[in-house]
């Protein structure tokens, strides 16, 4: 809190005037207006999605959730979201299974192990990764990474287990649910690891020192002194990542294989699939009828409900942690 610099002083002297009630009123009106506008946008989102999906819900009823046909042919229309709900959940689950341990490890390395000399540039690099647009991840995944996945991971797995475990019994092609899961993992790692890092930073050093003084190794300190302190924050960070994975569109569309109908229900790890968001992206511009469009918007509604639930739970967990810690600090 240094003294005001010259520029501030100039502003101050220019404004050395009597309190102006009218300006105040106008300005507070403006800021309240802006706040109301943000609420209106939320309302607009909910309203548009609800209005758009009314048609299909009155046509299909609850069957929309658990049947798997997807037929837009005039007169034989039948739409079901089941395969895409499964596809979304499965690809996100793969992403979480791969992404979460790696993100945690990175957060531990940066905040607990690496000296600042290495940790600071590393956290900068992860921030950089988070700033890469998903379309560029998608392009890279489509033309480069999927061949790595196919040749280095899928083919060996197939050769080893394909014969007797049905889960792996499909000739890998590189454009499938598994690839989508891995690429999603790569995309959410920077997000999860940077939040985990932030959360772990709020653990007071006294907590660590206590563990070290009892003779704990570094890992034991992390496991017994740091983790329990921020558990809910770490879970929250993970769920924020899950929210991103569930909602990610273009990246998944480029690598998941894009099949529709009953065959979109994955039977093996290397099956082609489809997620809620990728189907919307694929068919929105080619929707042949109002009903088809409404079905696509209804997929959006499911996606909306899913991500909203995940995010609200996540924010609640992260916020609780950070609030508790800032309260402790100020004392």
């Amino acid at each position: 809190m240094t003294a005001l610099d010259s520029k501030h002083r100039r502003y101050l002297s220019a404004l050395f005037v009597v309190r102006n009630k009218r300006h105040d009123k106008l300005f507070s009106g403006l800021v309240v207006g802006a706040a109301v506008y943000t609420l209106l946008m939320v309302g607009l989102v909910a309203f548009s999605v609800a209005k758009g999906s009314v048609d299909i819900f009155s046509y299909e009823g609850v069957e929309f959730f658990y049947q798997s046909n997807w037929n837009a042919v005039e007169g034989r229309e039948s739409f079901g979201a089941y395969p895409y709900i499964i596809g979304t959940l499965l690809s996100s689950a793969i992403a979480m299974a791969i992404g979460v341990p790696i993100s945690l490890a990175i957060a531990i390395f940066i905040s607990e192990i690496a000296p600042p000399r290495i940790g600071t540039p590393l956290s900068f690099i992860t921030e950089l990764l988070a700033a890469v647009p998903s379309i560029i991840y998608g392009l890279w995944a489509l033309f480069v990474f999927r061949f790595w996945v196919r040749d280095l991971i899928e083919q060996p797995l197939y050769n080893a287990f394909g014969g007797y475990i049905p889960f792996f019994a499909k000739t890998p092609f590189g454009l499938d649910i598994f690839t989508a899961g891995i690429v999603l993992a790569i995309m959410i790692i920077p997000i999860i690891s940077s939040i985990c890092r932030e959360v772990m930073r709020v653990v007071p050093d006294s907590q660590r020192e206590a563990a070290y003084s009892l003779g704990a190794t570094r890992w034991e300190t992390v496991r017994m002194a740091v983790f329990p302190y921020v558990k809910s924050g770490l879970v929250g960070a993970t769920m924020l990542g899950l929210g991103r994975a569930v909602g990610e569109t273009i990246l998944v569309t480029m690598v998941i294989g894009n099949v529709i109908g009953p065959s979109a229900i994955p039977t093996t790890l290397f099956s082609q699939g489809q997620t809620l968001s990728s189907l919307i992206a694929n068919e929105f511009n080619e929707a042949s009828s109002e009903l088809h469009l409404s079905a696509l918007i209804a997929l959006g509604a499911i996606l909306l409900a899913l991500t909203m639930g995940i995010n609200i739970a996540a924010r609640f967990l992260v916020k609780k942690k950070i609030k508790a810690s800032s309260g402790a600090k100020s004392q």
């Binding site: 102006n20 943000t38 609420l39 647009p133 560029i136 890279w140 790569i186 992206a281 991500t307 924010r315």
Partner: protein, 306 residues
């Protein structure tokens, strides 16, 4: 070693040795686990850096060869011919992102000011905070649907306006959040100094608090702009993507992410090369934005009062 040889040669060793042995054994295991975890974290860090390096290398390698003067200034030639360029996409991205930023930045900053300066507590403020968090977490494709039903359906055409609306909805909560967080760390004494001089709250906020937090807020806005510049999904159902230049804010337009997506799904090598070229341009645009901000902030540096 000595412990091991002892245990073999002397069957009736005393309890002290046994204790020592168990402790050593346990301790060695703990150290081993510690070392394994450390190695695992390092491997993970490397595993996370490999994709970044590979992405940047591929984009630069494949993109650089596609870029030429024609590529930057011409609309696309006939499909698969590999002629022409992506000028309409560059123009479209600048226009759509520009309009979205013009809507979102002022509203976001004002709403952030509301949360930080005018309504610290209170149900309404909590409501605004909560729904902004909700908005941040929504998938961008759902927000695209909003642009479609709210604007495309009502004016009857895929349009710049719909794209800008959708992108602004993505951008607003980011700006709100950053503004609130940044204003919160402005020391309270600054506001008190203003109050003691009898300056109105509006002016204290606009001319004292806001300038002190300028760099932070601008950084947040730039981050938000780079985020929306890379969005593809909401543009599919709002601006559609054409191969022509901008015709008006109620007409369709192209954008770089959308162009990359369309190019990558074409079966031609030349289209893929164009896709890489567009990706390089997109990254360079985003990079230029943040480097530009940094330079600008340095030039007019105004060391933050914090």
């Amino acid at each position: 070693m000595t412990v091991d040889s002892n245990s073999n040669s002397k069957p009736n060793k005393n309890y002290r040795d046994i204790l020592q042995e168990t402790v050593n054994k346990k301790y060695r295991r703990r150290l081993l686990v510690n070392r394994l975890v450390t190695i695992f974290t390092i491997v993970c860090v490397i595993a996370a850096i490999v994709p970044l390096v590979s992405i940047l290398l591929e984009v630069v390698k494949n993109g650089a060869s596609a870029i030429s003067f024609e590529f930057l200034t011409q609309p696309q030639g006939s499909m698969g011919s590999g002629t022409g360029g992506i000028a309409p996409a560059i123009q479209g991205t600048i226009i759509v992102v520009g309009i979205a930023s013009l809507i979102a930045a002022p509203i976001g900053v004002l709403a952030g000011i509301y949360l930080s300066e005018f309504a610290k507590q209170g149900i309404f403020a909590d409501l605004v905070r909560f729904f902004n968090d909700v908005l941040t977490g929504l998938p961008s494709i759902v927000i695209g649907i909003v642009g479609y039903t709210a604007i495309v359906l009502s004016i009857g055409s895929f349009s710049v306006l719909a794209g800008a609306l959708a992108l602004s909805i993505i951008m607003i909560p980011i700006v709100v959040r950053v503004t609130e967080e940044t204003l919160k760390v402005v020391p309270y004494s600054l506001r008190e100094a203003g109050q003691s001089l009898g300056i109105s709250k509006a002016k204290i906020t606009l001319f004292i608090v806001l300038p002190s937090a300028k760099n932070g807020i601008l950084t947040g806005i730039v981050i938000a702009i780079s985020r929306i510049a890379g969005e593809t999904a909401p543009l599919i159902m709002t601006i559609l993507g054409t191969s022509l230049f901008f015709t008006g804010i109620t007409g369709p337009v192209d954008a770089l992410p959308l162009r990359i997506w369309r190019l990558s799904s074409q079966p031609y090598e030349s289209a893929h090369a164009f896709g890489w070229g567009s990706a390089l341009i997109l990254i360079l645009m985003i990079l230029a934005l943040s480097v530009g901000l940094r330079l600008w902030a340095q030039k007019r540096s105004f060391k933050a009062v914090m």
